[in-house]
């Protein structure tokens, strides 16, 4: 009896110490080190005129100063290696993160300038900085390719340039856009994603900024909270666009990742799409399966900022309805102010579901290796939390 109890207890302890994959990380950068990667032409322009990018902060507030958790103090007067060291200590080691997905360096503002050549040069600079200073600096760090979405051919060129790097796991673009992402304008991007086996991710940001359309179809909203609420409807539009324009028929291996758009609203939205598809299927006959099935096969979601229903018993049924067991991946959004704590943001989940959301779903999506054995993870966690 006693020995069984000990074994069970040990098993429970080791389960508690399992490593995770965190699918939304925003690393700051050392500006001078990024600018060093730009061609002379742009270095001189920036030196004379500044960065020449529209900013979200010029139109909308954020949740906290600098948009980050107020106790986080990145050594911004240091080197890129200093920033990485801080990130290791404050996040990777602290929360047993086995893989951390950087969701694009710099600012999605790059994707809002009308100058696509400049945007492409900036993307290249940030992507190179990311590979040289962060991905190469820690094997846990994985990267997303920032693309000049203004010009899908230039975007495809950038994907082809670094898409084969082993630390690159996806292509990323902002939710704010000139056209819904199902539009054939974007096909060169999806072709390039398929060539390299990379998912295409859309991260909320830059709605209504620069060349992007207003944050709602009804026009500009005023306050930051309205702006955050408006993001969901844009993501809804992208999702329906991807499905009904037939992107997944044309690009059958493409995965689409929705980052930071919320999760539980997806359940009734899928129901609604299925219902309308039954009636309107003949207008888009290339959509041969129920939208819910296309979502299950091709679309993945990240969890932060997670909605918790006041009646927590609603959480699991809604999670199940949006395919959370297979399609949801944990994200913290570190170091942003609306960070979701890896161990405290979710309601209680059974071990299997927890394992899917905090590791397996992301590992399958990004082609990451299986989790190191539980004992190894346990040893490491104990070694690094001293």
């Amino acid at each position: 009896m006693e020995s069984t109890a000990v074994v069970q207890n040990t098993k429970r302890e080791s389960r508690k110490k399992l490593t995770i994959i965190d699918c939304d990380i925003h690393m700051p950068t050392i500006r001078e080190a990024v600018i060093a990667y730009l061609p002379r032409h742009y270095r001189e322009q920036i030196d004379t005129f500044g960065m020449r990018l529209p900013t979200q902060g010029a139109m909308y507030l954020n949740g906290a100063k600098g948009g980050i958790m107020q106790e986080q103090q990145f050594p911004m007067d240091g080197t890129p290696a200093d920033l990485l060291a801080y990130f290791r200590k404050e996040h990777l080691d602290k929360y047993r993160v086995e893989h951390a997905i950087l969701t694009g360096l710099g600012d999605y503002a790059i994707q809002t300038t009308p100058d696509a050549d400049y945007a492409a040069a900036l993307c290249t600079a940030y992507n190179n900085y990311m590979i040289d200073h962060y991905i190469s600096g820690d094997p846990r760090v994985k990267g997303s390719i920032m693309i000049p979405k203004q010009d899908p051919l230039l975007a495809a060129k950038e994907i082809d340039r670094i898409g084969g790097h082993p630390g690159i796991v996806q292509v990323i673009s902002s939710n704010g856009a000139e056209k819904p992402y199902g539009h054939r304008f974007y096909y060169p991007i999806y072709e390039a994603c398929e060539r390299h086996g990379l998912p295409f991710a859309v991260h909320v940001s830059m709605e209504g900024i620069g060349i992007n359309h207003p944050p709602t179809g009804a026009g500009y909203v005023n306050h930051y909270i309205e702006y955050r609420m408006a993001r969901t409807q844009i993501m809804m539009a992208h999702l329906a666009s991807m499905i009904f324009e037939g992107v997944f028929q044309r690009f059958p291996t493409l995965k689409f990742v929705m980052i930071e758009a919320g999760i539980l609203w997806i359940a009734p939205y899928i129901w609604r799409m299925d219902q309308d598809w039954k009636a309107l299927r003949s207008q888009t006959p290339w959509v041969k399966e129920p939208p819910s099935e296309i979502v299950r096969k091709h679309v993945r979601f990240t969890s932060q900022p997670i909605e918790i229903p006041p009646d927590e018993s609603l959480f699991l049924p809604l999670l199940k309805s949006m395919h959370g067991d297979t399609n949801l991946c944990f994200a913290s959004d570190y170091p942003h102010w609306d960070f979701d704590h890896p161990f405290k943001s979710f309601p209680k989940l059974d071990d299997e579901l927890k394992d899917r959301i905090f590791y397996q779903n992301a590992a399958e999506l990004y082609g990451l290796p299986p989790r190191r054995s539980e004992s190894e993870a346990e040893n490491e966690a104990e070694g690094t939390t001293k």
Binding site: K65, M69, E71, D338
Partner: protein, 125 residues
């Protein structure tokens, strides 16, 4: 109840705060208009160090576009999700049932002190 001396009263001026360890807990000691308050440095939401955020007023309004400031310096704003807590009660502003611990604070002179300084004590159960 154990009382812990956390420093000289003069160290925390009105509007100021100090985060201390006492009885195995991290606690924020605030000086609000000359009175001292102790708030557990732990947000009940996701466990952030609550007292590491900004200290602010309660912002009120009579209607759109109007802002008024009340209870100056009495609100602790969580450094992560910016939830607002009343420093005096530990209660969340919009949901008083969500709360963190508060502790009694006293200002005393050392029992056998040669100086005439006031010291702050926090009383932790």
């Amino acid at each position: 109840m154990t009382k812990y001396c956390i420093g000289k009263a003069s160290e925390i001026q009105p509007g100021g705060k100090k985060i201390v360890e006492a009885g195995g807990r991290s606690i924020g000691i605030y000086n609000i208009k000359g009175n001292y308050y102790a708030l557990r440095n732990l947000c009940p939401h996701q466990g952030a160090p609550l007292c590491a955020g900004v200290t602010s007023a309660f912002v009120n309004s009579s209607g759109p576009g109007d802002f008024s400031y009340e209870c100056e310096g009495e609100i602790a704003r969580c450094p992560w999700h910016q939830w607002e807590f009343d420093i005096k009660t530990g209660q969340m502003v919009v949901d008083p049932a969500t709360r963190t611990m508060t502790y009694d604070v006293s200002v005393e002179k050392y029992d056998v002190s040669v100086d005439d300084e006031d010291y702050i004590y926090v009383h932790v159960p």
